[in-house]
Structure formats: C-alpha cells, structure tokens
Subunit: 408 residues, 2 copies
Amino acid sequence: MNKIEGGVTAAAGFSAAATHAGIKSGSTKDDMALVYTEKAAEFAGVFTTNVVKAAPVKWDIELVRKKKTVHGMVLNSGIANACSGVQGIESNRLMAKGVADQMRVEPEDILTASTGVIGYQLPVDAISVGTVELCKKLSEEPASAHAAAVAIMTTDTIPKEYAVETVIGGKTVHIGGMTKGSGMIHPNMATMLCCVTTDCAISKEMLQKALSADVKKTFNMISVDRDTSTNDTYIVMANGLAGNEKIQTEGLEYEAFCEALNEVTTHLAKMMAGDGEGAHKLLEVICNGADTKEHAITIAKSVITSNLVKTAVCGNDANWGRILCAMGYSGVEFDPEIVDLSIKSKSGELALVNAGIATDYSEEKATQILDQEEVTAIIDMHMGNETATAWGCDLTHEYIDINADYRS
Amino acid sequence: MNKIEGGVTAAAGFSAAATHAGIKSGSTKDDMALVYTEKAAEFAGVFTTNVVKAAPVKWDIELVRKKKTVHGMVLNSGIANACSGVQGIESNRLMAKGVADQMRVEPEDILTASTGVIGYQLPVDAISVGTVELCKKLSEEPASAHAAAVAIMTTDTIPKEYAVETVIGGKTVHIGGMTKGSGMIHPNMATMLCCVTTDCAISKEMLQKALSADVKKTFNMISVDRDTSTNDTYIVMANGLAGNEKIQTEGLEYEAFCEALNEVTTHLAKMMAGDGEGAHKLLEVICNGADTKEHAITIAKSVITSNLVKTAVCGNDANWGRILCAMGYSGVEFDPEIVDLSIKSKSGELALVNAGIATDYSEEKATQILDQEEVTAIIDMHMGNETATAWGCDLTHEYIDINADYRS
C-alpha cells in the first residue's frame, strides 16, 4: 500500500468541484462542493446517533436503506440544515435535485451533507445557482478534490485529504477521502462529514461491513469537545472502475480493502483531532493491558475528553493525576495501584507513574516532551492484552474565542 | 424555616478552627480546618464513585460502614492525598490521630478530607503541627466557621457557607454547612468536600437516607467541567443537642429535616456551580415536561456539561442549536420537533424555540438576558410532567489559565 497524492478524485472515474454560493453572509470562501461519478457507485454510510438529526442526515439514511447505488454527493458549509423543520427537508431535496437535473440523474442518486450553524434555513436560491456552477466545474484533477476539501471547511484551519493505492485481486485500487470537522466533534457512529471514494469493485453489503468496522477504530476514537453533532456523516462510494473481481465475501481481498480504507480514515481522523477548534497540538492516548477491548476504548476516550487533561496538555503541565482521575470515572473497574503511565513525543519518552504512584521524573523533561505538536500518553493497566488508541487535542483560549462568538 | 448567619458552627455544640500548616509551598493562606463536637454525633456520608479514591475517602467510607458516631472532621487543602499509595493511607491516619490525641478521643472518631493536587504526599510534620494548632483554636463563633470555609478553598474565589433554622418536634433545630469546589467538579454520588452539621436528633440510618436522597437533587445536579474528582465527600454530622425527640422513622419531622437540609445544600451547590473555575456566571437549566424523572435529569445535565453551550453562554450568544444538540446526544429518546426553549434572567424572559424551530426572537434582547450573573434556560419536552434542575457555569479563558498551569 502506498500513499498517493490527492483526495476524493484519486480513484478512477470520480470528479469534484467547489464553488462560492454565498450561504453564510459576509464570507467569500467556497461553501459548496460536489463529488461525482458517471459510473454509478455502490455506497455505504454511518451517521450521527444524535436524536436531533439534520435534514441531509435523514435523506442519506433513507438512501442507504433503499438504494444500491448513487452517483455522487453534494455538500455545503455555513448552515447545518438541522432543527429546520419541513422547510429544511424541502431545501435539502432541492440541493440534491439541483445537481441531479444538471447531470440527468434522479435526486435520489445524490447524497447530501451540510455543516454550520444549527437552526438556520438554507438560502435555496443561492443553493440552486451553486449546484449549476458545481456541475459545470466538475474535474478529475487533484486541484478540484482539494478545492472541494476547502469548501467544506468551517472553523477548520486546514483542509483534510488523504489517498492510497493498493493491489487487490491483481488490480491497482485507489481510495481517497476528504473530511471536515473542528468543533462539535465527538463522533458516535460516524464523524462530521467524511466522503471517501474508491474505484475498488466491492458490493454494497461488504462496503457497509468494512465501513462499520472501520469507524470504531477511527472516527469514533476522536473527540474535540465531547459534543456529538447533529450532522455527522461518513460515506464511502465505490464505482468498481479498478476492474478487480468484485469483493462479495470476506477473504484476503476484503482484508486488503479494509486495511487501505483504515489507512485513509486513520489519517483523516488524526487530522481532524489535531485541527480541533483552537487546538495547538494532537493528543494521542494509547491504553494497553486492558482486560477487554471495550474497556480499553472507554479508558482511552475518557482521558482524551477530560477538560482538565486537555488544559494540562495545553500548558505543558505533566499533571498526571488528572489522567488517573479520568480513567477512574470512566466507568471501568480497575486497580489504580498497578497502573503505569508514560508520555512521549519527538522530544523523548518518560515514565511518570509506576504501579499507581509517581516516579521520580524530571518536570523539566516532562515539559519538553509535552511542548510538541504531537504528544502521546501511554497507559498500561496490567489487566490483560487488549489495547485501544484515541485522539484528541488540547483545550485553549482560542477554543473559547471561536465558540463564544461563533455565529457572528 | 429561616436562613441564619453562620456555617458549620450554627448548630449547637459544634466548633471550628482553621490554620496555616504550609501544605502547598509558596502559599500563605490557611490550609487546614477542623469541625468538632464534644457530644458525639451520628453521621452519614456519600462519596465519589471514581474508581481512584483518595486516602481520606477510603478512611471515611470505612468509618461510615462500621461506626455509629464521630466527633469531628479534619480537612486540608493543597494536596488531595490521592494516588499516594500506602504512604498516603498512613499520613491520612496521622492527620486523624493528631486531632484525636489532642481531644482525647480515638483516631476513628475523626473523619478526614483532602483537596488539591493528585499524586503528591502530604507533609506529615506540617500536618502534625497543624492539628495541634487547630485543636487550640476551636471556637463556636461564626468567625471560626468562616475561617474553616476559607481554609478549604483551592481555586475557589469565595467561601461557601449556608445555615438555616427550623422547628422540628417543637424544638428549634439548626443546620449549617460549608463546601468547597471549583474545578474537577462533576459530582457522582457526592461533591468535592461538603461538611454539614446539625443539632437535630436523628438516627444514623435516617440521616443516611436523608443525605442519599438529597444529593441527587443538589450536588449530583451540578457540573463545572465534567471531571468527577477522586476526593468527593459529603458528610452530615448530627449531635442531637437541639433536644427534639430523635427522628427514627419517616414522618413529618423527617420531612421537615429533609426540607431544611435541602435548603442548605441547594444553596451550597449553586454557590459551587457559580464559582466554577474561571466562571463569570451561573447557568441554571430546567427541564420540564419529561416523561420520566431520570430523563429530565439526564437532559438537564447534558446541557449544563456541554462545552459548546458553556462557551456560547460565556459570549452571551443565544446559539440555541447547541442546547438542542446536547439534548439530542444525551441518550434520551424524544421528539425534537415538539420541544420549546426559553431563556430568562433578571433582564427578562424570551422564547427562542417553539416546536423545534426558532421563534422570531430579538438577538439583542437575547444577549441582554444572557449578559447577567445568573441565567436560566427552560426546556419543555412536552412528553410528560417530570422536571429536573441542574446548575453549571460558563467556560472562559480563565478556566484555561487556571488549569493550564494549576500546579505552579
């Protein structure tokens, strides 16, 4: 498997476009994106578990339930189209129809996704003009994929794309994706807008299976602020143009596909966590030695979501008691008196806790290790062999600034 | 029932003291406190559910389990005596013994409580000198109760005391308490250090029953940062000096006691929430119209703990979508399309959401309402008649400042 350039157009037959429709007043950035494949793609999706679901989420869930293939996905940033009632459902349908009419397919061939402020109505005239522009600008160039990744950003500071190629059944297969997400990020079954495309031939059933397994290890293991969004959407579309024999069952080909998908989504997930609103650094928490996988996941997520851990990391303060505390209230039973804890970064590695109490570590060295853009905390519970990794970020002044005045 | 002056010495027979033992280097504030009653008091307690329990929590749990009465409680701030191993257990016992030796009682007659940094060892020589000083300074004056409330503060900005008197069985009964807590506040079964005293005659069993019911409505309904501490301790001591016929069963007297206790602890809990680390304002969330009590509690707590709600409140931004979103991921099933939401403060009241979508409210008026020291959000789920109230605070730059560099 190799990393390759590009994002959602890395796979054969997929094109993309971005445009400025003017969804959020005062903003001049591109705010609509389209991903499209002439050859219909089998597809799968996972979505937010929030009871309050945005109109595009409801639309996509229905398509996943009743359709085998789609031709693309249209996305907008600026307004989430959530808590928008019947009018929101209608304007979402118009967004899909706008693309469908241009491309001479049905509205139900087009997935939708929105991100932005909750409770506002989409400006349907602007959306309508936007969809026409998008269809005109479709291109398979990497620059178009990149423009699409930029168009879906809100408080994100960097676009997030990743692509790989691998060989499946003797054919070269490509998988590429883009994602956005910076605030209201605590995915539960999926993440804030992630669109992955592949030319691999794989059945809808196996695609859904691969995606549902993958999300548990990737997007469900990140958190920026513990707020599970109303709009979380993670879609994979597979148009089969790589020409491999279609994956219909488990086996070596399926495993190779899952591995390549995981490579793409792990990178996208880590990029989201590290680009959390206001974040200065990526915090990785590895929980080793747990008695069950579920406990390892719970412990790792409890630590990355603790505001007190996140602020300590912000201040380069090795206040390890907060990590033990966050483990302790996670709901997992364990013996704190056998836990080990260490931290590492490119500045080195340091044991902070041995059998539940502090080692005689150097605070200066600890601060050096924490003062890096990527920091890892490694827990060993000494209760078994299960392990899990979660990703988050520090909690900073900038998070407050962004969110105390988000709508203006 | 009347509010009266004072705190832990408002009830007959209880005295208090505070002293500077020098537990945290560089600090000159009082850091030890003692609450004492010559007449042995029946007592009850609830404690943190965190798996990682501080040495004083383990000590108190054991005393509640095996003893009927105690004579007092010694408390320190600066070091939490958590994750401190066998040495921590021993230094906690020495703290109780230091008081016991002076007062000629047994170490097991003295409850303990600690708050501060996790993972450090208590300086036993300083503690030993401190206990002697405390016993010399014991006094029933309100000033001593106040000094004790100040001595247990860490990042708190105000001491927290409250006292009431009421008539039970024809006798005037007093209940007074003090509490501390500002960060790592998300009590689960209890709160960060609350000591309540009363001269009411009530059996240990009824006292525990009253306290266990009370905590669900008070300390378990507040959150500052969603971090459940290792040291949460809520103790009530009742020495019976009011001379009422001892409460041994449910009935009017028991109800009067519960009401008075609730009056004290509700005020203490709200003071803790409003004095959350870095907080500029108290946020109250009332959930009405829930189908079950449990759902009302879950919804109210989900909203007060959302970082995105807390930052919006900080910025006086009526970003109500975040409230709906936090309700939606709480785990409670409901119909978002029938929910109403309004906000109020001493500046007025305003309906923001009617049947799941925005009313045509004035943003200017909303900002005026939010720009007050106490702000209430009122949710109506229209699914039943159950209700719950939770208290939290806004999330500010100062929270980051305090916690990015807590230990220095």
